[in-house]
């Protein structure tokens, strides 16, 4: 009881004793009471055991702590537990936390791609690097496109002025490597850049069966090999430029050198072999490598008293030539030489600091040259070459025949030859504007046949033109007589004269005084035949020199009518609606049919002047080609003929003739100078008209209307 009492009192109960009963109150309420028995108060009360369901928020301590700790990962929380900052009981298993997902979502990391390429050129990675804001290189390039062979990891780089050149470079490179290796490119991995995804590029790949792998949009990671290579290249370029203190315009130079070096750097992908080694199968030699941007002294053969060498900056390894490329700042030129002495302890920036004036001078020079180059490069926009990286593949003829041959003859192996030795060797200078552009590629504009061919060229030209002349039509009567085909032309002229005689085109009369004569001229035409079927035809035509005719005297009306387009289409509509037949014809030598009204005198045709009648002239009775009124006369003649045939001329379109309208025998004719369309529901009537036309004029039946617009144009 004592203990109980104490406990109760502690919990804030008061008690009262009365009639042997003790009662405990808490806040005025009875809590418990006890009866006195045997000297003790026995509390009356029972402990009732029961279960109570409590509804309180059940906070998972793990997620609470996770939240408290700013969404700390379970791994880190476990560390805290291990270190004793948190109790192990509170950290258990982390439930799914949506906020974590929403807040910490990130792109999936990419597994290292595995290409199981078995040989070179099986799989090519390609990418284009650079931007319009990249400083222009010496050659005016702002971009470069790289090709990486997956098997050997060898890199090729081509410099571009604009992105669209990528296609040409790819083609060029493809042809080069495929030719060199005898293998074919099988897969090409690129990003979705438009330079790789245009019809031209697609067609090339389709034709050659190259399978394309592209990336998802905005996931350059899928083109990882290329992208990583770009970084590697640019890292080296930046380092080299920083080390040498050269300006950014040299980035292309540095890049090609970097690529040259990367191809000679062990690569972990291929078991730390050198890409060049895997590619070619032979171990490359590294002994000729020199420090980029160091001072280089190029041997020159000037006059006897001046220095025998020029100081320059080492720029890299030209492609296909065993030599070094050296930039001569003083001259603003680049030169390729194998007679170079290097001072690898002195870099470009050292020479600058030692002579600031010289630098300014060089810069001035450079700017001047750049201007000049811009002018030049404008005209040779498409003649850019690839850069040096494709060393062993591109043959180099840009340097001119003499140089490359002498360099290869005189030194088969550059590495063996002593550098300091001054041998009369290859010395090749290019102006800056050609530089980089022309180093490896043929500059088409510069290709000249070797001098021994120059004479032959003239001969060839002469022969070719002579051959052309043979084929050409003579321009005049004299030429026809001189031509090797004289006989044929004479026959043709005779034919023409015969037909004029037959149709009684003119009468020979004495030349009246005071009347002007019109000249005439022979026109010769070679009509190509169909090989094996029809021979070539030699045609001669006599034309009048109508330009000497005077309006009002020699002619009045000249215009020949043509049918309105609307009428033609109306006829077509009629044709389909009424199920008409539509036939097409044209008149041969239409203009010769016209009867001349004006009195026109023409001189006798060349070569056919009648003997004894030399003074006589031709009084034209019919129209000739070349006379101004010929078209008009033809139209009149045709109109008269149609009226004879009881055809009616439409007053809405004077080129529309019709007969027997509103009957079954209705027939229509549309005229377009000497071409005509005949429409009717009755084929027999068409045939009848055709026959009549054929009797009157010489006609060519073209059958059913086919090529309509050819007809009127």
């Amino acid at each position: 009881m004592c203990g109980t009492y104490l406990q109760l009192e502690k919990s804030g109960c008061k008690y009262e004793g009365k009639d042997f009963i003790v009662t405990f109150y808490k806040d005025g309420q009875k809590v418990i009471s006890g009866k006195y028995q045997d000297g003790l108060y026995y509390l009356e009360g029972k402990v009732v055991k029961g279960e109570v369901a409590v509804a309180r928020p059940d906070i998972d301590m793990t997620s609470l702590w996770h939240s408290r700790l700013g969404h700390m990962s379970l791994k880190n929380m476990n560390v805290l537990v291990e270190e004793g900052y948190l109790s192990g009981k509170e950290v258990d298993k982390l439930e799914f936390c949506e906020s974590c997902v929403l807040g910490k979502s990130h792109k999936q990391s990419f597994p290292t791609a595995k290409h199981t390429t078995k040989g070179i050129l099986d799989y090519i990675h390609s990418d284009l690097s650079g931007s319009p804001s990249t400083p222009e290189s010496l050659g005016g390039c702002r971009y470069f496109v790289s090709f990486i062979d997956d098997f050997s990891k060898k890199v090729w780089v081509y410099f571009l002025k604009t992105k669209d050149e990528a296609y040409h470079k790819f083609r060029e490179w493809k042809q080069a490597v495929e030719n060199q290796t005898g293998k074919k490119i099988k897969y090409l991995r690129t990003d979705n850049g438009l330079e790789f995804y245009n019809t031209q590029f697609d067609n090339l790949c389709k034709e050659d069966g190259i399978k394309r792998h592209r990336t998802c949009t905005y996931t350059p990671q899928q083109n990882g090999v290329s992208e990583r290579m770009n970084k590697t290249i640019m890292d080296i370029v930046r380092s080299m430029l920083a080390e040498t203190g050269m300006s950014q315009e040299f980035w292309a130079e540095a890049t090609s050198t970097a690529v040259y070096l990367i191809n000679r750097t062990p690569n972990s992908f291929i078991g730390f072999k050198l890409p060049e080694e895997v590619w070619t199968g032979t171990k490359p030699d590294l002994s000729h490598l020199r420090r980029f941007g160091c001072s280089a002294y190029v041997h020159v053969t000037q006059d006897k008293t001046s220095p025998r060498a020029v100081k320059g900056v080492f720029m890299g390894y030209p492609c296909g030539i065993k030599g070094y490329r050296v930039w001569l700042p003083k001259e603003g030129k680049c030169t390729t030489s194998r007679n170079v002495v290097f001072n690898e302890t002195e870099l470009y920036k050292d020479t600058l600091s030692s002579a600031d004036e010289r630098k300014e001078e060089a810069e001035k020079e450079y700017k001047k040259l750049k201007k000049a180059r811009k002018r030049v490069s404008f005209s040779h926009d498409l003649l850019r070459g690839p850069s040096t990286s494709c060393c062993d593949l591109d043959d180099s003829s840009s340097q001119g025949g003499e140089t490359s041959s002498s360099s290869s003859e005189s030194s088969e192996n550059l590495e063996e030859s002593e550098m300091n030795e001054e041998v009369v060797g290859s010395e090749n200078e290019q102006s800056l504007d050609d530089y980089l552009l022309a180093r490896d590629m043929k500059r088409r504009s510069n290709i000249r046949p070797p001098s021994r061919f120059e004479d032959e060229d003239f001969v060839a030209y002469a022969l070719a033109t002579a051959e052309d002349l043979e084929e050409e039509e003579p321009k005049s009567y004299e030429e026809a007589l001189k031509s090797s085909k004289r006989k044929q032309w004479e026959n043709a002229m005779k034919e023409e004269m015969d037909s004029h005689k037959k149709s009684h085109t003119w009468d020979l009369i004495e030349k009246p005084e005071k009347q002007k004569l019109i000249g005439c001229k022979w026109i010769f035409k070679l009509k190509p035949g169909i090989p094996g079927v029809e021979k070539q035809r030699y045609k001669a035509r006599l034309v009048a020199k109508g330009f000497s005719q005077q309006e009002g005297i020699d002619y009045n009306e000249v215009f020949s009518l043509v049918v309105k387009h609307v009428s033609i289409r109306l006829m077509l509509s009629l044709m389909v609606n009424m199920d008409y037949e539509l036939e097409q014809m044209d008149v041969k030598t239409a203009f010769l049919h016209g009867n001349l009204e004006e009195r026109i005198l023409m001189s006798q045709p060349e070569g056919f002047i009648q003997e004894g009648n030399e003074n006589k002239v031709c009084l034209l009775r019919k129209s000739l080609y070349g006379l101004k009124q010929s078209p008009r006369l033809w139209n009149q003649r045709f109109d008269a003929f149609m009226k004879d045939q009881k055809f009616e001329r439409s007053c809405y379109d004077p080129c529309v003739y019709m007969r027997d309208t509103q009957t079954d025998k209705a027939i229509y004719l549309l005229l377009y100078v000497d071409d005509m369309l005949i429409a009717s529901g009755n084929m027999a009537i068409i045939q009848e008209l055709k026959n009549k036309l054929n009797c009157e004029f010489e006609m060519k039946d073209l059958g059913r209307l086919q090529e309509f617009w050819v007809w009127i144009s």
């Binding site: 245009n198 019809t199 387009h565 609307v566 009428s567 289409r569 109306l570 077509l572 509509s573 009629l574 044709m575 389909v576 609606n577 009424m578 199920d579 439409s650 007053c651 809405y652 379109d653 529309v656 019709m658 309208t661 509103q662 009957t663 209705a666 229509y668 617009w709 144009s713």
Partner: protein, 216 residues
């Protein structure tokens, strides 16, 4: 242009051009030096005259700037080429119709010429269900309201209708009346009843009225 993306309209609403000012002419001439503007427009015109009524309006539009085109005008020309790229397979189809009759549709574009505020007349005629005649040309008179512009277009269409009707009847297909559609109620009202109105007094409405009576 071979790889151009096709468009579905021969021209677009944003092509609203004026002729170049004297100053612009100088600057634009440099850019347009090598652009075969006239050649392209000429070729389009040939297609339009022969078989492409859909080009009629736009050819009229781009040929307004033929004398001194600028780059913006050239962009409109290229738009037409892009349209043609998508539409070159479409052509005039001649097919049999249930009835051989003449039907015309006239419309106008009010003050579309920004330089001189002239409107464009346009019409298309179908005979026997086949499109055979079309025209789109600048009106020679400045219309002061859409009613006037529509009325003038209607007049042009009626002229063509009379010609077609005559030719057809001559060919033996006499037409009792010709239907010419016009989408302007006010122009139609003007054509039917010549209320001498202050606003239309400068247009002689007699011709159309008479001819409407004549052809219908």
């Amino acid at each position: 242009m071979l790889e151009a993306r096709p468009v579905i309209t021969p021209t677009a609403a944003h092509f609203k051009f004026r002729s170049l000012s004297e100053e612009e002419k100088k600057t634009e001439a440099v850019h347009m030096e090598r652009i075969p503007y006239a050649n392209v427009v000429g070729s389009l015109m040939y297609a339009m005259v022969g078989s492409r009524p859909d080009l009629a309006f736009v050819v009229g539009f781009i040929s307004r700037f033929m004398s001194s085109p600028g780059r913006e005008h050239w962009s409109a020309v290229k738009w037409v080429l892009r349209y043609l790229k998508g539409a070159y397979t479409q052509n005039l189809i001649f097919k049999k119709d249930s009835k051989f009759c003449i039907e015309g549709f006239s419309d106008s574009d009010y003050a579309t010429d920004l330089d001189r505020r002239r409107s464009v007349t346009g019409y298309v005629f179908k005979v026997g269900g086949n499109t055979i005649s079309w025209k789109s040309s600048l009106q020679s008179v400045v219309a002061l309201s859409t009613t006037e512009a529509e009325y003038m277009a209607l007049t042009e269409a009626v002229k063509e209708a009379i010609w077609l009707k005559g030719l057809c009847s001559e060919l033996g297909f006499k037409q009792d009346n010709v239907m010419v559609h016009c989408d302007s109620q006010s122009a139609l009202a003007l054509a039917k009843n010549s209320v001498h109105h202050e606003r239309t007094e400068h247009i002689d409405t007699k011709f159309t009225q008479q001819s409407i009576r004549q052809i219908s």
